[in-house]
């Protein structure tokens, strides 16, 4: 105990340090302790994040000065939403983006299952750690490096054309929407493998043996035992693959020359039509809110 404790030589109380007195006072006041701990992080998120989202929501109803092109804050209009609902192109872009997010998610799930299963149940412990590290390397490699790498492969004169030409197959360079499918799948695949692996590893081997003993063939065991048990992990992984595709505007532009929701938002965010960009961004917010609520019901958050 330190010597500033409770008494000096003469037995009279000494002055405690401010820190110490504060600690003593705080000890029974749990609510104040909680407030002190939570105040700063909650304040930051409420102001910097929720506040920004609120401003974004409001700005969807602001007007744009047609002469200067400046946004007039707090002058209200529904023009942005009218433009969105009237424009065929905004519907096409939305369907393209959501469709791609779904396609990429399904592809990632199909590719992740076999390797995750191999890691969880078949590989030796040594091989398993090696594979976990092997998957972590592309996961950690910089996003733009990966997109750029695919650009060099897919472009005219690139590796793909060099491989395909002898077979008489023509590549479309960097203008093919299928490129976006390929590259987005590549980018988010590790985000699916990791939770699916964790989910498969939690399945007790005895369950699979029981299924086999009861006459279940491999296909039946997969469909009736493994898939239902790993489903929450697939949903957990799909949050990443779906949300990251939904919000990407760099990859579609760089590898497929295609416009996604994010491209319309980015192109209009400062010079074009900011209220329109704000109004359009309500769509990914709404989609992800529904997605997250559904994922929570399916038990995905316990699998993260």
């Amino acid at each position: 105990m330190d010597d500033r404790g409770s008494s000096n030589d003469r037995g009279a109380p000494v002055r405690l340090s401010i820190q110490r007195r504060l600690a003593i006072w705080l000890f029974p006041h749990r609510r104040v302790q909680l407030g002190l701990l939570l105040g700063t992080p909650l304040g930051w998120l409420a102001i910097a994040y929720l506040g920004s989202l609120a401003i974004l929501l409001l700005s969807a109803f602001w007007t744009k000065d047609t002469f200067t092109g400046n946004v007039e804050p707090f002058t209200w209009s529904l023009k942005a939403f009218q433009t969105l609902f009237a424009g065929e192109v905004y519907r096409t872009v939305a369907i393209r983006t959501v469709g791609m997010a779904a396609l990429v998610t399904v592809t990632c799930a199909v590719l992740a299952l076999p390797i995750a299963y191999y890691m969880a149940r078949i590989a030796s412990p040594r091989k398993r750690s090696a594979l976990l590290v092997a998957i972590a390397v592309p996961l950690w490699a910089a996003y733009l490096v990966k997109v750029y790498a695919w650009r060099t492969i897919l472009q005219g004169n690139g590796l793909l054309e060099w491989v395909l030409t002898p077979f008489g197959v023509e590549s479309h360079g960097l203008k093919d929407i299928a490129n976006a499918w390929l590259v987005l799948t590549y980018l988010w695949l590790p985000y699916m493998i990791v939770p699916v692996y964790a989910g498969l590893e939690r399945i007790p081997g005895s369950m699979l043996e029981a299924s086999a003993d009861l006459g279940g063939r491999a296909g039946t065991t997969f469909r009736r035992v493994i898939l239902p048990l790993v489903f929450p992990s697939l949903v957990a992984g799909s949050i990443f693959t779906f949300s990251l595709t939904l919000g990407d505007y760099i990859t579609p532009d760089l590898v497929a020359d295609a416009k996604f929701i994010g491209n319309v938002i980015y192109d209009n965010s400062s010079l074009g039509n900011p209220p329109l960009a704000a109004a359009y961004s309500m769509l990914p917010i709404a989609i992800m809110t529904i997605y997250l609520l559904a994922a929570r019901r399916l038990g995905a958050f316990q699998s993260l």
């Binding site: 909650l42 910097a48 974004l56 191999y118 078949i122 972590a136 060099t152 054309e161 985000y191």
Partner: protein, 267 residues
Amino acid sequence: MVESKPIRILLRLASALVLLFLFLPLVVVVIYAFNESRTQAWPPTGFTLKWFGEAASNGALLEAIVNSVIVGASATAVALVLGTLAALAIHRYRFFGRETVSFLLVLPIALPGVVTGIALQRTFKTFGFDLGLMTIVIGHATFCIVIVFNNVIARLRRLPSSPEEASGDLGADMWTTFRRVTGPRLGTALLSGALLAFALSFDEIIVTNFTAGAGTQTIPLWIFAAIQRPSELPVVNVVAFLLILVSVIPVWLAQRISGAETAGARL
């Protein structure tokens, strides 16, 4: 083993193909970094190291690297403090709205990046902030908090609280207990949280593109601009090669700190 031999062989084959798919682009970029030709045609024409010299003397690139380090360090510092405070609060106290707070922490990475980006940009512009390093840091810190939070709370859940109680019984006040007991026990969780947060910030472009303004470049922003100028591609190859090398560090460190499982903890 329940799985029959043909199924095991098929799974092994599928895994090998997925690994090939995951590594192919990285290998191609590494090869291009040493390509003699200025153009990007396959196959490469010859071996050279001259692009490394050109990268080292590229002023804009070096400035972008410095900016990225400043932003990453600042955002990580903010996230370390806020994420640890939030984790201690959520772990130790039961209160109304606890679930909501956890949800609020995840929201910045659960919502698409383009939403976070435009929301911050609109707010900065409305209140007349100049876009620059400061606004980039605010954006990055916001989505890095949850990374530190996740690491710290996972550690807190695994640790028994008896040493803290013992410390209290022995007369230590809450500051001393945190400084001498809780803090050191969180050590490696804080380290891996910081590492993850820094790496996430170093790599971010979707949000950064909205909050950077015209004059400020980070590494991803520099690459994004340079990709679209053919004359810069040899230097981009070198940068890509070096970034792949650097990205092995967090994987290696995470594995050293807490086993292979956490290497995938970028999620």
